[in-house]
């Protein structure tokens, strides 16, 4: 972690030049080595279409499945890496058993309300791959979890439900306007009364 406490400095996984370059080389982690244009020893082929390890289009079923498996493996590896980053943030009173759950633009107002009412705030800042381990750590000891979302269907509630976690209550606002302090304070007080 650097001075700001946010960005972890990692060296890129660079091509070592010992074998022929393949942009989408399959390996244990699923993360292929990086090389930059121009390089007289490497032909770098990027593709948005299904491709083989060298980056050339494929319509072959076996290659398609193999490359899909590679990407799924990469996602698992990245999810593991993510454990060393602060993927879920918490604010307010850590000892409290009531927490507001929020994401994105509602974070600021939730933190302000939580300070006023003495609550904890939980904010996942990565949604995919979902940091389930860190999220479960954050809700440990919480008896009442209240989701605050600026949309009509409770999108974050649905996402965490897919990971087997339920909220106890939901506050939604979907009239095209952000929450105001007075309004949200009143709504939260009703839920915790």
């Amino acid at each position: 972690m650097n001075d700001t406490g946010e960005i972890k400095e990692n060296d890129p996984y660079l091509w070592d030049g010992t074998t022929g370059y393949r942009r989408y080389e399959d390996n244990k982690t699923g993360v292929s080595p990086l090389a930059f244009v121009p390089n007289e020893n490497a032909v770098i082929k990027v593709s948005g279409y299904e491709h083989d390890e060298s980056g050339i289009t494929t319509e072959n079923a076996d290659v398609t499945k193999k490359m899909q498996d590679k990407r799924l493996r990469k996602e698992k590896y990245l999810a593991e890496e993510l454990k060393s980053f602060p993927a879920v943030k918490t604010y307010g009173d850590e000892k409290q058993t009531t927490a507001l759950l929020c994401w994105g633009s509602t974070k600021g107002i939730c933190v302000e309300i939580a300070q006023k009412l003495g609550l904890k705030v939980i904010q996942p800042i990565v949604l995919s791959p979902f940091p389930e381990h860190a999220f479960r750590e954050a809700i440990r000891g919480i008896k009442k979890l209240i989701a605050v979302e600026n949309n009509a269907t409770g999108q974050l509630v649905r996402l965490i439900k897919a990971h087997g976690i339920d909220v106890d209550d939901t506050i939604l606002k979907y009239d095209g306007r952000p929450f105001t302090l007075d309004e949200l304070e009143k709504m939260v007080k009703e839920k915790i009364a």
Binding site: V37, P38, E40, V43, I44, V46, G48, G55, I56, T57
Partner: protein, 283 residues
Amino acid sequence: MSQSNLDTSTPNTWCPGCGNFAILNGIKKVLNELSEEGCPPEKFVLLSGIGCHGKIVDYVNVNSFYSIHGRSIPIAEGIKMANSGLKVICFAGDGDAYGEGLEHLIFAAKRNIDITVIIHNNRLYSLTAFQYSPTSELGFKGGSTPNGSMESPLNPLELMLASQATYLARGTSQGMNLLTRLFREAIMHKGFSLVDVLQVCVTFNNLYEYYAKRVYELENHDPGDFQAAFNAIREWDYNSDSRIPLGVFYKKEAPTFDEKLISFPVDLKSRDGKIRQFLNKRM
């Protein structure tokens, strides 16, 4: 270096007789020539979008980016800005660049960024099997317009001239010598260059004979003359059965976006200097 050094081992899936082969062979010939003259293949990046043309990058063993529909141009611009020493060539279809990605094309021309755009203009969507495109003629009976298209086509070269492109040319997939010469000129041109290739789709819109009867190469035409270029471009509107001029319509020297970008910090400095000078006088 022989031409085969630029080949990849992947099988070609275009229809036999497809006009794309002419573009593929033409570009390989030019890349080989330029390589012999001291611009090695690793200095090139080829891009493609979506359409039958897209696979061209699979058939040339050079750095490439097979992008999404209509988006080869913004990616090419990004690559050129990141490293202006690279030669960046976009391959795009008529549906790809004149339809889906038209705004990108107009703005790339407007800012005169030093990239080359080669349009595989078969005047219909062939990969999705036979629908009218921005350059199909009025009344074109395709899969989505069984009673005939109700729209007149765009004249893409007229649009590009209005958008301040600095090199505009047209070739066909039948005339290899001209096509190769245009590709080479377009790549060497400093600034935004576009070659519209009347690339015949043998399967859905076989215009080989139609074009053979109508095309001619521009003679005594001054590509530096905007009005002459305008008139030559308007001789054929992609709709009527008039004669179809081929060759270089327009060519102009102008500062490029990428060179302005590189010189930007220097300009800022001198501007800063001028402001300081002004302030010093007042204080």
